[in-house]
């Protein structure tokens, strides 16, 4: 089995892990956004709360969510280790550097990732933790399902009345957008998929994704802050 540890600890193997976990997170974000857009339905939270109840109680979703936690952790830890190693590979720094030969996002993936991470910590502390591990949330009953469910909708509405929290979300999503601006096409390149035939397509999809998805998420706090109270 030594081949597999040699493989996964080689520079290319580490990058493969970054790429696969990154692509998994990219897929997750689509699902996550699709679910959360139900917050925009003006039904007092019925659709969203029912969905949130399903997501916290369904066995398959629970199983997948452990995979998600693991992948996020692997992506973060591996990313930071790689970035430290890369910084260390040039002990004496240049007096002058040329910023035109590559993009801001590509040079600062670890920094952008860390910003996303701090945002994630705030975000999960606010909603995920309160939903899963506390009984702080009020309960509501809807005709549609037989049991009482936690009213996460009201909690979300309350949270997004704070301007500073909305500001943190905007900054976190900006960092995410930049991270993906480089990361999306980079993940395919790492997998060995770079060819004149299809790379322009991958790059275009990546740019659309990295704008549309963060804007989709950004709409939610803005909606509550400006239009709800």
């Amino acid at each position: 089995m030594s081949w597999i540890s040699n493989f996964l600890t080689s520079s290319l193997g580490k990058k493969l892990i970054m790429s696969l976990t990154g692509l998994f997170l990219i897929t997750f974000l689509i699902v996550h956004l699709a679910g959360n857009l139900q917050l925009l339905i003006d039904d007092g939270g019925e659709a969203f709360n029912t969905y949130a109840h399903f997501m916290t109680n369904n066995g398959l979703i629970k199983f997948l969510s452990y995979g998600l936690y693991a992948f996020i952790l692997i992506h973060i830890i591996q990313g930071i280790l790689i970035a430290l190693k890369n910084r260390g590979a040039r002990a004496s720094r240049y007096a002058v550097t040329n910023r035109k030969s590559n993009s801001f996002a590509s040079r600062n993936m670890a920094l952008l990732g860390l910003l996303v991470f701090f945002f994630l910590a705030v975000h999960m502390g606010d909603f995920w933790y309160k939903m899963k591990f506390t009984n702080e949330l009020p309960m509501v009953a809807y005709a549609g399902i037989g049991v009482e469910v936690k009213d996460l909708y009201t909690r979300v509405n309350m949270a997004f009345q704070e301007w500073w929290l909305v500001a943190i979300y905007m900054l976190g999503l900006l960092a995410l957008a930049l991270h993906l601006w480089h990361g999306f096409q980079s993940a395919f390149h790492t997998l060995g998929l770079n060819h004149k035939k299809y790379t322009p397509f991958i790059k275009a999809v990546g740019k659309i994704y990295s704008i549309v998805i963060p804007i989709g998420f950004a709409i939610i706090p803005l909606y509550f802050f400006f239009l709800k109270n």
Binding site: R93, N98, L191
Partner: protein, 249 residues
């Protein structure tokens, strides 16, 4: 034209270096290296120590003229080595900062001269091609499609200068290594040992202490031979497939 040069002075790999400032009078038709020759002659006349810099062919094919000029390996012109860079691209009064390639895997030997033997060891790790290539007519007896031959030749035009490492924010040697891997693996003569070769060359590259690739593509932007990052993707592909398909542990 009158120029101010800030040039790196470093005794050897053990000592710390620093910049020295020199004024020089250059003409537009001089090459960058000729301008440095003139500087060195002036320094020698004053019984000073000339700056050490590497050069050999002075026609853009050997890859030895390594230096970073105002933050760019081989200076500001695309697809141009330092020896092919001419002073007509500068104007009177310019200040030019000249530093060695900086990477732990390329230790500074003296002033602007760095030790690039890590590249030689990566090539050596690749090993031999067992197919007897014979004389030129034998080579031509194996028919190779035009576009494959073109890609192989493009990869083979890497001169091993190290500008890719110098330009990379991570000091990664992926562009060089991938050019060497692609150049052989595209051709039938090189395919026999292809899987073993890519594994060994990547292992050696990692051992030499280069950073990891983060796909910033600064290497491609600064490469004097226009080597494409498509070679990196190709090497990744070959490495992954070699790792899961070869039987040695």
């Amino acid at each position: 034209m009158k120029l101010t040069l800030k040039i790196w002075r470093q005794k050897n790999s053990q000592t710390k270096g620093k910049f020295e400032v020199h004024k020089i009078e250059a003409t537009p038709e001089m090459s960058f290296l000729e301008m440095l020759d003139v500087l060195n002659e002036e320094i020698i006349e004053k019984k000073g120590e000339p700056f050490a810099f590497e050069h050999d062919c002075r026609e853009g094919i050997c890859g030895t003229c390594s230096m970073v000029i105002n933050g760019q390996p081989h200076g500001p012109m695309a697809l141009t080595t330092t020896c092919q860079l001419h002073m007509r691209h500068y104007k009177d009064g310019d200040t030019i900062v000249i530093e060695p390639f900086r990477a732990n895997a390329f230790p500074v030997l003296k002033d602007l001269v760095v030790d690039r033997s890590a590249f030689d060891r990566i090539i050596q790790a690749g090993g031999f091609v067992s197919v007897s290539t014979g004389q030129a007519p034998d080579g031509n007896s194996i028919l190779i499609e035009q576009d494959v031959a073109r890609d192989a030749f493009d990869a083979a035009s890497c001169i091993g200068c190290g500008a890719c490492v110098a330009a990379c924010p991570n000091a990664s040697a992926m562009l060089f290594t991938s050019a060497k891997v692609s150049h052989l693996s595209l051709l039938p003569q090189g395919q026999v040992e292809g899987a073993k070769r890519v594994k060994k060359m990547v292992a050696q590259m990692d051992k030499e202490g280069f950073g990891n690739c983060s796909n910033t593509y600064a290497c491609e932007a600064e490469c004097p031979k226009g080597i494409s990052v498509e070679n990196i993707a190709k090497m990744n592909r070959e490495y992954f497939s070699a790792m899961v398909s070869t039987s040695d542990k």
